[in-house]
Amino acid sequence: MTAFMWASFGLIACFVPLVFVLLFGREIDGVVALELCGTLTTLVLICLAQAFGRTAYFTLPVISATTTVVGGLVFARFFGRVL
């Protein structure tokens, strides 16, 4: 077990408080939690890619970061207009 594997476990644990926000918060609070989930996912993928030692896996965090930003903008636009 490398330090990056332990770091990925710690980052995955960070999802737990956000699950409560997603389940019990308002819709817009869920959007905020979802944005943070995207950030955490990007960091988890970076740590796991380094822990597994596979160069090809480092493409995933770049895609995750991009989709997190685009998804957040789409959700914000949707909530601002519809609800």
């Binding site: 770091a7 939690a33 480092f58 770049v62 957040g72 959700f75």
Partner: protein
């Protein structure tokens, strides 16, 4: 354990702790605007510490450059998302983004 390994461990531990603090902050705050403060902070300190740990380990290789790209996208574009989300929340709660009469200065 070398000094480099120790530095990587410390940077990773502090970075993960920063992210955990932001997650707990998002969970315990009451208003959406307070939650946004913590969600925005999660793209600054923690990711850069984890990036520093990675760069110490791999240097400016393909892995390092792709990690710089990923965290750079988050750091530069996340303020746009936070701003758009805050405007959406403001529109939902107050019907618009203009300042209320009691919010305007004298």
């Amino acid at each position: 354990m070398t000094t480099q390994d120790l530095l990587v461990d410390v940077l990773l531990a502090v970075g993960v702790a920063a992210q955990l603090l932001c997650s707990i902050g998002v969970a315990v705050m009451h208003s959406v605007f307070d939650r946004l403060h913590y969600a925005a902070a999660a793209t600054t300190v923690g990711p850069f510490l984890i990036l520093a740990a990675l760069l110490i380990r791999v240097g400016l290789t393909t892995q390092g450059l792709e990690a710089i790209a990923a965290i750079g996208v988050l750091f530069l574009a996340n303020p746009l998302v936070v701003n758009a989300t805050a405007r959406a929340a403001r529109r939902m709660d107050y019907g618009g983004v203009d300042a209320l009469p009691e919010e305007k200065g004298s």
